[in-house]
């Protein structure tokens, strides 16, 4: 019935057709010294900006505590098929990281406004996130990347199974995030 109505160009039955069946956003309080840079409201705004492509099949976005098993590194997010995106809490800036950050990661961080100070003698890196830059990073880099994983997984149809090599999956997610960033930037400029 609904399919027929849409095909005939009639107005949709639901009033919020532009933003149908939004995923659940579950927020777990962060630990002391950590925070969730992007809140529920910002995440929903980002989903709204991307459109129904991102939302279709997406079940939940969870803001959770960082896994303790990866204390040595900083975990940003995770996509778990079918339709579950996890965004981890982040330490309060500035970050003092052991070792030097790889060039590709460095470019990714600097693109969203992070200030990186490399300390080759000490073998450490200081990452500072002025103002809203960490939020921007979590939304435009991490969330879009995870949505890219979801889009590939969802639209291939075989949702709970591995449908591409990890390398290809990651490449698609990176391309998707890049395209969406460009589109959002263009929208901002037009406004």
């Amino acid at each position: 019935m609904l399919k027929e109505a849409v095909a005939a160009g009639e107005p949709a039955a639901r009033s919020n057709e532009a933003f149908p069946a939004r995923p659940r956003v579950i927020v777990q309080p962060p630990r002391a010294g950590f925070h969730h840079p992007a809140g529920k409201h910002e995440i929903l705004e980002m989903l709204r900006a991307i459109g129904p492509l991102a939302i279709y099949g997406l079940r939940s976005i969870e803001l959770v505590r960082a896994p303790t098993s990866r204390a040595a590194t900083v975990a940003f997010g995770r996509y778990r098929a079918p339709g579950r995106i996890v965004l981890y809490e982040q330490p309060l800036p500035p970050w003092r990281l052991p070792g030097l950050i790889a060039p590709a990661t460095r470019r990714s961080l600097e693109r969203t406004g992070a200030l990186l100070t490399m300390l080759p003698d000490a073998g450490a890196t200081i990452v500072d996130w002025p103002e809203e830059t960490l939020r921007r990073f979590m939304l435009e880099e991490v969330l879009l990347h995870e949505i890219g994983h979801h889009v590939l997984q969802q639209h291939t149809g075989k949702r709970p199974v591995r449908i591409a090599r990890t390398r290809d999956h990651e490449a698609f997610a990176a391309r998707f995030a890049e395209k969406q960033r460009d589109r959002l930037a263009k929208c901002r400029r037009d406004r």
Partner: protein
């Protein structure tokens, strides 16, 4: 009579079943009462003696432990179940099983494990006898667990049955307890070569429409060469039933004679095989009314317990869904510098 045990029939329809349930209870020294919702008290069978009835409130007042015997969810195997000395055993209607009222009344649930895909229950009186045998008669262990129970299942010979209803119920029990074939020495022609009415009634009792057991007629007094023959009799000879090995595989023939017309002549058992053993059912009551289906079903249940079942198959773990992590890439390694301990202390 063991006044601490009561067999309770819930909405039993068939008066013949009710009468045999009374006899089954008497075999184990238990009382037998009925919750009569089907007009059982008006049946001819109870015209003289009267039907002992009971309500759910009376069951609760009489016994603290109430055991439902039905293939209900979460029911434990009757084998090896320890009910204590004071309990009520509830058995249900022939077609519908226990009523919701009695099911909710129960403190424990037991079942007789069935091995057939098509025969999923026993005759109610036969089931009552099996349950009473394991709950208040013998103290046996749980059902054996074997990788290949089929290789331990003996052949059975139903010897000289004299009543088609009794034989039909026994055949139903044999199929339900996992036998694919049974030999019948039909001297009294109650199964093969009988009249139409007897044939129909016998087949109905055996649930022949869905009972796939293969029945092989054996001529009376024929000789066989089984390495091991086990005769299960009502006579107090031989070893108790639970102490004899009934899981000898196809090389063993378990003979269950109908002794309603007289004791089985054990001397004649030598024609069946080389080594003949005798086992008997240990029953608390000295005097009881003999029913072939009761004795045979208890014997078959014990054999089935010893033959055992396959171990429960573990469900394979579900395939892990794909997970993609996003984390800070591996930090570039920096060549380390060796620092003497003195320098570090002076730092």
């Amino acid at each position: 009579m063991n006044s601490n045990v009561t067999l309770v029939g819930d909405s039993i329809e068939n008066p013949a079943n009710a009468v045999i349930m009374v006899h089954a209870a008497a075999m184990f020294g238990a009382a037998c009462r009925f919750r009569d919702t089907k007009g059982l008290a008006d049946a001819e069978a109870f015209a003289g003696s009267g039907l002992a009835t009971i309500t759910s409130a009376e069951v609760q007042a009489l016994h603290s432990r109430i055991i439902a015997c039905d293939n209900l969810p979460g029911a434990k195997e009757v084998y090896g179940f320890n009910p204590g000395r004071d309990f009520a055993l509830l058995v249900g209607n022939e077609r519908r099983g226990l009523s919701h009222e009695f099911t909710t009344l129960a403190t424990d649930r037991v079942q007789i494990p069935m091995h057939s895909r098509r025969i999923n229950c026993l005759n109610v009186s036969a089931a009552s006898a099996v349950a009473l045998y394991y709950l208040c008669g013998s103290r046996t262990g749980p059902m054996a667990i074997r990788n290949d129970p089929g290789s331990r299942r003996p052949d059975i010979l139903l010897c000289e049955p004299s009543d088609h209803f009794e034989l039909g119920s026994t055949i139903r029990s044999a199929a339900g307890l996992g036998w694919k074939r049974a030999f019948i020495e039909d001297r009294h022609q109650v199964w093969f070569g009988c009249g139409r009415a007897v044939r129909s009634e016998g087949r109905a009792a055996a649930r022949r429409g869905k009972n796939e057991i293969l029945l092989i007629p054996c001529p009376p007094q024929a000789t066989y060469a089984y390495p091991r023959v086990t005769v299960i009799t009502r006579q107090k000879i031989g070893v108790p039933l639970d102490r004899i090995n009934l899981a000898g595989g196809p090389g063993q023939l378990v003979v269950i004679p109908d002794e309603s017309r007289g004791d089985f002549a054990l001397a004649g058992a030598a024609r069946l095989g080389r080594k003949v053993e005798v086992a008997h059912l240990q029953l608390p009551a000295a005097e009881y009314t003999y029913h072939y289906r009761l004795m045979a079903t208890v014997a078959l249940a014990e054999a089935s317990r010893q033959v055992g079942r396959r171990p429960a198959v573990k469900a394979p773990p579900a395939m892990r869904p794909p997970i993609y992590d996003d984390a800070l890439k591996q930090l570039a390694k920096v060549a380390g510098e060796t620092v003497p301990l003195e320098d570090l202390l002076n730092y």
